[in-house]
Amino acid sequence: MKAIHRSTTRFVAGLAASAIALAAGAFSATAQESTDPIKLTLHDWTGQLITTQLMGEVLKKAGYNIEYVQADYLAQFAGLQTGDLSVAMEMWETTGRDAMDAATATGKVENFGATGMKAKEEWWYPSYMKEKCPGLPNWKALKEASCAEAFSTAETAPKGRYLGGPVTWGGFDDERAEALDLPFEVIHAGTDAALFAELESAYQRKAPILLWIYAPHWAPAKYEGEWVEFPEYSADCYNDPAWGSNADMAYDCGKPFGEIWKVGWSGVKDKWPGAHKAIKAFTINNDEMGAMITSVDLDGKKVDEVVAEWIGANESRWMKWIAK
């Protein structure tokens, strides 16, 4: 074995030497500002992949070096603070606010402004449930015992079962059910994937289900259904118990529409000033994004193709973002 060992060592050493030579040669590449790659994070849902690659392709057109790094939605903040990662394109107000605030408080992470997309999150049911609970989408229908019964399972009966998001998402659903006096038990799914696995299961069997759905996402496009209409959200509702139907409790209303933010390492501004400007200027709206997500997740197109189509069709828009 020893001879193999020795020869592989030599082989690897040779490779290492050539790799170092390559790295040294890299500095001769020309581009504006820093030639280091701007590292954009990719998460595990389609919309985010599209948003990030749109930004990445635009920055490439402007002559920047781009690197996509796969990272966890929340674990990425450690990388954004140290500068190991540069930009995260989708930080949802509703699910990422705490982590984002903690990170921006250190001064090492900067909020690059809103993406223009608005996160809608609310209680949602498939259309076939309307027969069993005719008062929907008005939230008052849920108060009736027959409705709650229709949404119940063996463990929750006679109360209805509402499947909320993972506890880490927040959302105040336990409080909402109590404040609005809804006869529902709030169960928390552990992850986004579990949430939609349950929906898929129920939808296949036309079984009752009431759960937390958000948009932009492929689910509202794939499944026929509606959002429950709660009293409209206002800041007072969350802060002031006196507001709304329940005088003693806050959260007696629906959920707020949340911005989807762009965040990144605060060093981006000095290292790539032009890119910083372009990232801040990036905007896109819900309908465009919804259409792109649908063509990837339901029509089976590749993310690259969809992104390239958008880039081709919207040249005037992104040219403005990277204009000097």
Partner: protein, 674 residues
Amino acid sequence: MSELPDAKIPTQAQAVWRNGAFGLGLAIICFVLFSTYGKSLAPWAFSFPKTQTFPVARWISQFTKWLINDATFGLFTFTDLTRFIAAVIDLPYQIALSLFATGFMSGPGSSAVQLLPPISWIAVIAIVGLMGFYIGGRRLALVVASCFVFIAVFGQWTSAMVTLASILVAVPLGIAGGLFLGIGAYRWKWLERALLPLLDLMQTIPVFAYLVPILFLFGFGATAAVVATLIYAMPPMTRVTMLALQRVMPEVRDLGNMIGCTRRQMMWRVLLPSAKESLMVGVNQVIMLSLNMVIIASMIGAGGLGFDVLAALRRLDFGAGLEAGLAIVALAIALDRLSQAFAGSSAATGNRSSRGLIARHPYLAASFLVVIVSGFLGLAFPAVQSYPEMLQISTGTFWSQVVKWINVNFFDALEAFKNTLLLNILIPFKRLLLGLPWAGVVVFLAISGWLLRGPKLALLTGALSFLIAATGQWEKAMITVYLCGISVLFAALIGIPIAIMAAERDRLWGWVRLAIDTLQTLPSFVYLMPAVMLFRVGDFTAMIAVVAYSVAPAIRYTVLGIQGVDPRLVEAGRAMGCTNLQLLTRIKLKLALPEVLLGLNQTIMFALSMLVITALVGTRDLGQEVYIALTKADPGRGLVAGLAVAFIAIIADRLISAGAFRARARLGLQEGAQ
């Protein structure tokens, strides 16, 4: 260890055993009485007073903050040191990655130009095939090569090579690190004493708990993933090294002394080679555990197959998830079989170097030839360089359809089954555990420790369980115990009968082994999401995942125990006219008891290590706490919950080992005990 009775005199051992059993019974009765009637007498014993809890989470958070921002050695800071280590690890990783996946690039980021393509798929398959042939002959070559062909055919090649690159860095580092720590502990007693509790913690604290500090210290990306993998996968290697060195026959050591070996020669030329076979068990564990980390590694920038699994399941594309998951299994099986055969072959043939250099050259030369020829051919024919997309197979929507079919046709039956179990076993057990007074449990654990081994163990179990309560984790810890306890019970109920059937049927054992290897390396996500569809989120689904993962050691160790029973004893039993059932219950299972207990121990460890995953289907245990802490980037909170998990593991481990020791003593198998 010294406080143990001299077990060589069986009557005395039996007497001590009986006394112990009596004491235990008394303790249980007191405990039951207290937990039923004690609530009004001493409410503080049931829920730990909130004002008295130790703010350990805050201390740890402050400490990590200091470590990351301010800790310094004068010339350089602590972060500089860790970043330097990261850079050192990164170099071999980049080389491996370029070699297998991306090719050698010039220039940064997206403007890079490929100078050299990666090794082509044909060449990789040819090389692993040659390695298999060299080490283990035609059969092994076929197995290993077909694992890689499977990966190519199902279109997982590039991702699999990214994963392979990080495994090829993590595994040698894990083996070397474990080996050196093990040798050190063998040489210096103080190091062993310091290391043992640390190894326990490394193995049992969920990875999520220390992920945040690691990301800060080592940077975001594949290197941090390698470091996390090392922390998780190194302990078994260290343990195995320590044990293997201690078990080297004294004759071998004497021989070394007689021929005048220096200390170094003794270690590298005498002790390690003669412990080689045991050491390979450690190597195998490092490989398996590293592949276990693939999913978590992909969350922090390692990419590869783990990312594909996560992304597929987010789209509820079960087929794609399963294909990527099975590609991980294929990698695991190929690497495992190669390393196993490597141990076997070199142990059997002994001195190879006498055959001369030329005899070994053909393989190496052939490998290089294939790389170079396929590299050039690849320039002309793309299909040689990367597996043609046209020839890829995919199960497409098949698996999603299967799940749908089961869901539509059998949901009600499954639901009824689930509800029966939930209402009659799971929920009552959960209520029972949650109703127990913490003070009573602490005292009970201390007494059990005392009876099984002595005051030292009593102090340990008592103190650790007290700390769980004192940091305000009691309720979550009890839910953890409930979920793991019930899963371990089911895993044992399923695993032990299978093991009994398979132990004496080689054919069946081959299949069972394949099945448990698959269960151990297939990311649990792959079957977790279909399970959610059929059983909804909640404890039951979590239990399925835990049982599926932890049934493997229950089977493995039981088989090991039964196969290790002295055939002469079985023969003797048969001669005395035992029926098959009697042979099994009176001889084989009894003698295999120590191994079965060790298997139980490992089953518990495996179950606890699945906690973080079960948090993803909505359980409310310590795993959830760790997960929440990760999402809030709160290292203190995560580590405290992680430590509580580790404490539960350590208490269970120590009590069971003490029990196993007694069992051995009773059977007169003293020499097998540690």
